[in-house]
């Protein structure tokens, strides 16, 4: 499949080279795909999308959009000429312009401007809101206007910067599905930044993990979850317990020494029919609605926290996990 966005060896530093925000990042996004960029604060997510949009200048590497070189050490095409659309974290709607004026802002064809804008507003479910001003809209409606404004000029690549971070949980879930259905409908290639892995797992065709400015893994959602390449990636997608020497002794599971091993929290069960089992004393029970969290003390004194849906009686129990669930990473 043809790649719409191609990034090669991208690096960027700030503060005269003292702070390395991105370090040799390379990847591509296929036409029509939705790619999520996930990482902790300061991992370089925002720098990456600002470089793609042309709002920052790169230090090393190249950026190609639709096979056209848009940024390199010698060349930097201005953002207005890159054919990129962007939905900003705070939406960045122009406060002095109406909804319609906001959406027509980036449309170049002067004749059909209004028709295109109205059709895009229709697409995002905001017909009838043309004359309103941004401050007269709810957070979710502002988000839709921002999306309509970015889609209206029909860009090659659509960038979304933490698009749902300003919304409450209920609204977030509904809007997330709506937004990505719209994006899929238009067929635009999209790249979106999020620190919420649930967003990424739910809608992205591919997920890209950044850590300290480096690309540590790029894969499909299920592959990332099942086969994380580092403890960092594993812990981004759920509670993960590193199987250190003490835990290995407690569970009597001798593992290879040149590897780092971990087990997902949900794979440790209150069950003695597992490959590796240990006796545990319940130190504390915390009821969390759908499940309970137990703080346990193992035979050898190690502490561990597990979650369970089963009622737990008594102060001692047996917990265990199976060898197929053990995650192994190279040190």
């Amino acid at each position: 499949m043809q790649a719409t966005l191609n990034i090669e060896n991208l690096s960027k530093s700030f503060d005269q080279g003292k702070v390395k925000a991105l370090d040799g990042v390379s990847f591509y996004v296929n036409k029509g795909d939705i790619c999520a960029v996930v990482g902790e604060s300061g991992s370089g997510k925002t720098t990456l999308i600002r470089l793609i949009a042309g709002l920052e200048e790169l230090d090393e590497g190249e950026i190609h959009i639709e096979d056209k070189l848009v940024a390199s050490i010698k060349k930097n095409i201005a953002p207005e000429k890159r054919d990129v659309g962007m939905v900003f974290q705070e939406y960045a709607l122009f406060p002095h312009l109406s909804v319609l004026e906001n959406v027509t802002y980036g449309i170049k064809k002067s004749k059909s401007k209004k028709e295109v804008a109205l059709a895009t507003l229709n697409l995002v479910g905001l017909e009838g809101y043309e004359k309103r001003y941004p401050h007269e809209l709810s957070g979710g409606q502002q988000q839709r206007v921002a999306l309509a404004r970015a889609l209206a000029p029909n860009p090659s690549v659509l960038i979304l910067d933490e698009p749902f971070s300003n919304l409450d949980a209920m609204m977030r879930h509904k809007l997330r599905n709506d937004v990505f259905n719209i994006i899929k409908k238009t067929g635009v290639t999209a790249i979106f930044v999020t620190h919420d892995t649930q967003d990424a797992l739910a809608v992205a065709d591919e997920i890209l993990i950044l850590q300290n400015g480096r690309l540590v893994q790029k894969d499909e959602a299920s592959a990332l979850y099942k086969k994380p390449q580092s403890i960092y990636v594993a812990s981004l997608f759920g509670n993960t317990i590193q199987l250190n020497k003490g835990l290995q002794t407690a569970f009597k599971c001798p593992l290879k020494e040149d590897c780092c091993h971990a087990i997902r929290n949900e794979n440790i069960t209150v069950n003695e029919d597992c490959d590796y089992v240990s006796e545990a004393e319940v130190l504390k029970r915390t009821f969390l609605g759908t499940h309970s969290q137990l703080l346990l003390k193992l035979d050898n004194g190690e502490h561990i926290t597990v979650v369970t849906n089963e009622p737990v009686l008594g102060n001692t129990l047996k917990i265990g996990f199976n060898s197929k669930d053990v995650l192994a990473f190279e040190e």
């Binding site: 949009a53 200048e57 050490i73 060349k75 207005e80 890159r82 990129v84 960045a92 122009f94 002095h96």
Partner: protein
């Protein structure tokens, strides 16, 4: 990063805005560069005489003035700011903004007024006669009197900066201090005063720059300072070279002050309790006796800095109105306002260009250097005047020699005067524009660019409509500063043009100080607008924070 990569990046990032920014910076820094370059020509004949007999005097007087003024403005500025921010007492609300009003009275006008108040048959003598003291008078035409009038006109700078700090101050620190058994007043000296130091010094540096810039008051009171020395060297001795040498020393003092202010602010982020959101929401109501004391104490600087001089000017205006109010005066007023209007427009445009060219330029070094463009406000007007006169004279001579023109087209013309004003007051326009543009979320202009609009269109469609308030404040502040400006105008104004400030100065110098009252009052009345405006802004910022 190796040199080749650096060069490639530089070549990539160098755009037309970088070049235009360089051009603007070049234009506004010519006067300072001129002073620097002219130093290599050597001093004039009188330099040795000045060094032997006068330099010490200039230095001593300037330092004494700085010390006396610092003391007075801190006493009045900080204490009144603390009282109105922390306590509730009768007239507090009125005093809060009345304390800013002395800013509308230029120091030289304050000097004329007080010469009248303390002079023969002045307000003081009339009052003491009624009390039974005959021929009671105080001579204030000396360095102490000068320190007093300068301080009374300038203390609001410290009042405003301290009050801004106190209004944003966290009560939890004070409450913690009180809970540890420290009284309110002890807490002020042990806790709040050291915390407020950066804010106080920032205001104080502005005061000191104005003190060093003053010519009108010092020359009227006969006190030799650097500024009067520069005037004398240029106009009485006819030695621009000596004036330049004195200017260079004064410039070094000013830069020293700027560095001192920057140095003392290096830990500002640690000392200012910005993180706390809790502000003074309830003021302490002191005992009745203290309430009256606080009201009286806060009224003193208002009385001395505004009411008394204005009363004196009103009395004089009543006596001289029929003599001063004539066609010439009306035409001077009009000229003043037209010059201030045109120059304010030009200055605001220059400030906009400097701000946005710097933003659109992508070379970091140039971005940092763009601040050089606003250095003019720190440089005394007399130095800027010299820095403009020399290159404009040289250019005029060159044009005449090469028979391009037959007469002077720059020197002693409105063009040179406006240029001088722009250099001097660019910072006054730049700061409100910068702060209002910083309030616009960066993503708005980024968003416009991603949507296909270039820098210029983004500016007109997005940024310009959103910084209108900043533009208005910039315009008003520059307008008033130009109306009040004296030393630069005195040196650079064309022969056939006059301004209200110069007219007031001429009347005062010609022993007709009472006639200076009408132009002075007009300046004060106009300058009252930004004083009130500033107070509203201060309250708005405090409520925002």
């Amino acid at each position: 990063m190796n040199l080749k990569i650096k060069f490639l990046k530089f070549k990539r990032d160098l755009n037309r805005w970088s070049l235009l920014l360089l051009l603007i910076l070049g234009i506004v820094t010519i006067p300072i560069l001129t002073i620097g370059l002219k130093l290599f020509d050597g001093p004039g004949e009188s330099w040795t005489h000045i060094v032997d007999y006068l330099l010490y005097d200039y230095l001593e007087n300037s330092i004494l003035l700085a010390v006396f003024c610092s003391f007075i403005v801190i006493v009045f500025g900080v204490s009144t700011a603390w009282l109105v921010s922390r306590f509730d007492f009768p007239m507090r609300k009125q005093l809060e903004w009345l304390l800013i009003l002395p800013l509308s009275v230029p120091a030289y006008i304050m000097a004329y007024a007080y010469a009248g108040v303390f002079g023969y048959s002045g307000l003081l003598q009339n009052l003491t006669e009624k009390l039974g003291f005959d021929n009671f008078s105080i001579d204030i035409m000396n360095i102490y009197g000068l320190s007093f009038v300068l301080s009374m006109s300038l203390f609001p700078y410290v009042y405003v900066s301290s009050r801004t700090f106190f209004l944003a101050q966290a009560t939890n620190l004070l409450e913690a201090s009180r809970m540890l058994g420290i009284s309110e007043f002890k807490s002020f000296f042990k806790l709040i005063f050291p915390l407020a130091r950066p804010a106080i010094v920032a205001g104080l540096v502005l005061v000191l720059m104005e003190v060093l810039n003053d010519y009108g008051a010092a020359s009227y009171y006969g006190v030799n300072t650097f500024t009067t020395g520069i005037f004398r060297s240029w106009f009485s001795l006819g030695e621009p070279e000596t004036a330049i040498y004195l200017s260079a020393i004064l410039l070094m003092i000013v830069f020293g002050l700027i560095l001192l202010e920057k140095w003392q602010r290096r830990h500002l982020s640690f000392s200012s309790p910005k993180s706390s959101k809790k502000n003074y929401n309830s003021r302490i109501k002191p005992r009745k006796k203290n309430q009256i004391l606080f009201s009286i104490f806060c009224s003193i600087p208002v009385l001395l800095g505004f009411i008394i001089p204005v009363i004196q000017l009103l009395i004089w205006t009543k006596q001289t109105f029929s003599r001063v109010w004539n066609i010439e005066f009306i035409s001077i007023t009009l000229e003043s306002f037209v010059i201030a209007f045109i120059t304010s427009c030009v200055t605001v445009i220059f400030a906009l260009l400097l701000l946005f060219f710097s933003r659109w330029n992508k070379i970091d070094l140039l971005k940092t250097s763009s601040k050089l463009g606003i250095l003019g406000y720190a440089i005394p007007g007399v130095i800027i005047a010299i820095g403009v006169l020399i290159p404009s004279l040289t250019l005029d001579k060159w044009l005449i020699e090469h028979k391009i023109t037959s007469k002077l087209i720059l020197n002693a013309t409105l063009i040179a005067l406006i240029y001088g004003y722009v250099v001097r007051f660019l910072a006054v326009a730049y700061q409100p524009l910068e702060s209002s543009s910083l309030k616009i979320d960066r993503s708005l202009s980024d968003s416009s660019k991603v949507l296909g609009e270039g820098n210029f269109k983004t500016f007109f469609r997005i940024e310009f409509p959103l910084i209108r308030t900043g533009l208005l404040s910039a315009f008003i502040l520059v307008f008033i500063d130009i109306l009040k400006e004296l030393p630069l105008t005195l040196i650079m104004k064309p022969y056939n043009v006059n301004t209200l400030a110069v007219k007031a100065f001429e009347y005062a110098s010609d022993e007709m100080v009472s006639s200076a009252a009408l132009p002075s009052l007009l300046i004060i009345l106009t300058a009252l607008i930004p004083a009130i405006f500033l107070n509203k802004l201060l309250l708005k910022n405090a409520s925002d924070s």
